[in-house]
Symmetry: C2
Subunit: 639 residues, 2 copies
């Protein structure tokens, strides 16, 4: 059975750091979103989501409400619920989910079709606008929910609905004559079909995923023909993006750069990596690596944010990483973690886990308020609240998280990601268990079970205990993070000299019940510089400790943060503050603040360097910013 | 007779610096624009401008073409022609202009109305959309052209047309019951009417100007009512600008900040200053000063550019001066010079002349290619060509000047400004002749005629010679520019100790024919800093010599200018280069360039300060940038 056939990676998380975030998922996120889907949040616009299904099923009269992709909200919710039930069983919640699945199933048409937008507005138009109407995107999320719900609960109801809908799609779209040679405007169905293939083992699901990947961007361009048929105006015609918005500017194997809408890009590349791995397609693997390098070595923020521009929520060009006009959608960082996890499955290299970790502890987690009640769509690295209000080109940047969104993609995406963190902890390859992410819990790999104890990311010590004798020849590979320059390893209290290969310390020895492995990762606060080609970070530094990127907030350091400078010789004082921001390590460094002293109020003057006064700078983890009211924030500080 | 009654300030310019630019006006600008107005430029979209007049006059059939304000193009051209005829008589050109005026006049309706958009599309709709349809704006430019043409040629034809049209407007709009209580969405008619009042002496022209100024922004808001009547969607409804776009958010006397569309703002404030001066209205004068201070002390670029954002081509908020996404429209800097000149008429203070000079030598002049054939609409202070192409939010910033514009406001505005530079040289008040701008030529003030010789702005020496005995008690005030920290003055070769008041060295002595005044302004290159509140200039300096702001271009200094740093102790080498960029003083300073040496290609790293290597930096005047192909440019450089 292939990898996907496994129910889910067999990991239990019980981690000091992540527990508090995951608790908000079951306490706040899932119940709130259920209310939203049912139009029961008093001060919010109605979602229409579940009502659309009832209308489509003929159980209620009315018109379609919400975005064309509104159906996807219930699927993302169901997927999050499924994952949560694994580590937080809740019979009542499961009953609600079962009922929601019935509501969905009731709208399915005789031929398997199931998209309420078209069921309500006219089935004759279905599959006519794959480019913009998100039909295959919605189907992809349905499949993802169906697979997760089946894997966790064993219930096939939604899975069967999804399989029937996929059959319906495959009867209309595909390489055969008479079918539409199309593919989704917004990817996700590619990786969804690969997950489906994992549980069904049915080659047709693999074939359809591969078709969507490979047909994309072929000439003549399907989207162009579709627009012509529909008489559609091509929205991105005069944009620098054009078909790059959809990653359809050329066949994916020829693409050299991470381009266009960042979430779509990340979802596509994730699906490509799934297909590449399953089919062992060397060319497609190379394409994935090329796109990975573009995205992470030239177009990614230090927080793991991707998508430099609000225009198209998209990538722009190499080393173009503005901190204040960035888009950096939470979903895009989540997509980056998806992609990274799949690259790790392709080959166990620490580089992938480094990026995955960077995204998880920074640009993803920043998307949620600490109480789990508000969310960021956009994750800036520099904020001046007045600019967000008064400068139209920064209005997408919000200085505080929002309650919910009309286009509610980020909150449920965060929920399903946090609810399935188990998937990011470990991978297995060639008899080796790779520990990618350090978090307390249990890893039950084939032939090797490990208990993990750690206070990561606040401390660099990780204690692993072997539970039960391991199978013979089983190797253990512990990731040495890219940020770590000094570390030591002991097995049963004896220093172990091990080789580091591709970012992993690989220990090859027989494992017996009770064996203890102690990994000590030295975790000083370090100043980070960006590649000299990054214009916006020239002359600036960021501060990072372990995987956590820090920032300065007005709440601690006053406003006008552009006048703050740091000296990189300065050592940071490291302080665990249990009562701050839900418990964080803060950093304190010496700095200088340029003052207005001696400046006579002119706008420009011939003047010497500004007066400075020494200041203590207090840094907090970037993910925790904007939890203490509206104020300035900045990650990159003048040096 | 009031000030406006004077034909024009009696100045002859014959200046080494300005002559070359003014020659392009008569050699390139005026003939090219005439071709454009007649749809005779081969590779350009037709203007339709003159054709619209013929259609409106019933001499040709067809529909209206071009923008709703297309008529204004011929008026701006005629105004430029008028000014040019003063210093460059050209009988053939004058004949063409006379004929154009006949084409205009032929379209005038029996009641005086004259806007081809409404004549062609339906007169019943006239004056129904003052907010957006530019009717009064077009009328304003007609009046300005008419007055200039009359003042220079003595011909009344267009003046009479304009007076009749103004009567028609005044019969429809005004304070009286039954009239529309409206005002222009785009100001200009206010200052135009004041110029008209200057030649007619007719109080009704003053009254209408004052009405437009004072009615603006009154409650209930006229524009709101107008939109309601028209069922118009309010375009700026969800923008931070709203009615501030039109400077109509409140009555002008209550406005505290320079807001909204920068050109409109500057034109309005200019009209306000005209009205304030003529009516000696202390409250309105105070309002002008408040807006002046906002615009120039908190919202102006070092180049004299105004309008920080492309959104609404508008002001944003205090000290918000991004260098790379700036709008900085050429017309807005021209408007700033208009405003400054009028403030000088209100009170002779060097501060106003300083800003006027800053705009003229930098942000205005940068609008035109050295050969006079191409123009900038937007005048950025930092350009990376790839960003202009790939970042949608910088696409308004062009790395090279454009041939012409569909909305051709800047080129003719530049032409009429350069053609009327005489107006900026001197002012008179209370028996004193104020020399505001140093340029070679002759100033014939009442009772005092001066010959001026100088190589300004490349050298700081100005030689003035009194021609003929002056009237008794006539004082001479020479501006000591704000940029000048050391200067000396000699009269007839004897050092003169004079008091400096409000930025002018005032010499009070009898003047005899042949008296020589030698002003020596010390003109070293100086490093400029911005107010510490300006975020985008923190840690950066600009370089200025005399009134000229400098910049670094890729052509001289390579790309990646963000990695260039300057040491402010460095003295600049000053070099007159007659064969460079039409003859400029270049500056050379020592600098450092951060290199990629020792950087391993990673996007982020824990690293010490980058390696640097010493470089010689070559600076050129900002106005002359983008005359040597496409490349990076930057005014503010890291320090």
């Amino acid at each position: 059975m292939n990898h996907y056939g496994k129910p889910l990676t067999d990991v239990t998380l019980n981690d000091r750091f992540w527990n508090r975030f995951r608790e908000t998922v079951v306490r706040e996120g899932i119940p709130y979103q259920w209310k939203a889907l049912n139009d029961a949040v008093e001060d919010a616009e109605p979602s229409h989501c579940l009502r659309n299904f009832r209308v489509a099923a003929g159980k209620e009269s009315g018109t379609f409400g919400g975005f064309v992709f509104q159906d996807s909200d219930i699927y993302k919710w169901l997927e999050g619920v499924a994952f949560s039930l694994r580590w937080h069983p809740d019979a009542q919640l499961e009953a609600i989910a079962d009922e929601a699945i019935e509501t969905v199933a009731a709208a399915q048409q005789a031929d398997g079709y199931l998209d309420t937008y078209y069921i309500i507005n006219g089935l004759d138009r279905r599959f006519t606008n794959l480019k913009d109407n998100h039909e295959l995107y919605v189907a992809g999320h349905m499949v993802e929910a169906a697979v997760a719900y089946f894997q966790v609960t064993g219930k096939r109801r939604l899975l069967d609905v999804a399989i029937r809908y996929v059959d319906c799609i495959a009867s209309a779209i595909g390489p055969e004559e008479g079918k539409l040679h199309g593919y989704p405007g917004h990817p996700v169905i590619e990786m969804a079909l690969m997950r489906l293939y994992g549980v069904t083992g049915d080659e047709k699901h693999l074939r359809l995923a591969k078709y969507f990947v490979d047909e994309r961007g072929q000439s003549p361009l399907y989207f162009e023909a579709e627009d012509a048929r529909n008489g559609n105006h091509f929205y991105w015609k005069n944009s620098p993006l054009r078909y790059r918005y959809y990653q359809a500017q050329q066949p994916v194997r020829e693409q050299k750069d991470a381009e266009g809408h960042a979430v779509r890009a990340m979802y596509l590349y994730s699906g490509m990596a799934d297909v590449a791995r399953e089919t062992d397609d060397a060319e497609l693997i190379r394409a994935c690596k090329t796109l990975w390098e573009s995205a992470t070595r030239r177009r990614m923020y230090v927080t793991g944010a991707v998508g430099s521009s609000e225009h198209g929520e998209a990538f722009t060009f190499d080393y173009d990483l503005p901190n204040d006009t960035v888009y950096g959608e939470t979903c895009a960082s989540i997509g980056l973690a998806f992609f990274a996890r799949r690259m790790l499955l392709l080959e166990p290299k620490g580089e992938y886990a480094d990026v995955m970790e960077r995204a998880l502890y920074n640009g993803i987690l920043s998307g949620m308020q600490l109480d789990g009640k508000r969310f960021f769509y956009v994750n800036p690295l520099e904020v001046v609240p007045e600019a967000c209000e008064m400068d139209a080109h920064k209005r997408h940047v919000k200085p505080e998280r929002q309650k919910w969104f009309g286009c509610a993609c980020c909150p449920p995406n965060l929920i399903r990601t946090l609810a399935s963190l188990e998937e990011y902890v470990a991978t297995e390859a060639a008899g080796t268990v790779y520990v990618n992410l350090y978090a307390g819990g249990e890893i039950r790999a084939e032939g090797l079970t490990l208990k993990v104890e750690t206070n990561y990311p606040w401390e660099g010590d990780v204690k692993l205990t072997v539970l039960g004798d391991a199978a013979e020849g089983k190797k253990l590979a512990l990731r040495i993070p890219g940020w770590c320059r000094e570390w030591s390893l002991a097995v049963n209290d004896e220093a172990a000299e091990v080789e580091v290969k591709d970012g992993y310390a690989v220990i090859d020895r027989p494992w017996r019940d009770g064996d203890g492995i102690a990994l000590a990762l030295s975790m000083p606060a370090r100043w980070v510089r960006a590649n000299p080609r990054v214009r916006e970070d020239a002359g600036k530094v960021a501060l990072q400790r372990g995987p956590v990127v820090y920032c300065l907030e007005e709440a601690d350091n006053g406003s006008a943060l552009h006048n703050v400078r740091v000296g990189c010789a300065a050592e940071a004082e490291i302080c665990w503050e249990p009562d701050t921001l839900g418990g964080v390590v803060t950093l304190t460094t010496d700095g200088l603040r340029e003052t207005e002293d001696g400046w006579d109020g002119a706008l420009y003057d011939f003047a010497d360097a500004p007066d400075t006064r020494p200041v203590k700078l207090r840094w907090i983890p970037y993910y925790a910013w904007a939890n203490r009211g509206v104020g300035e924030m900045r990650v990159w500080v003048r040096n």
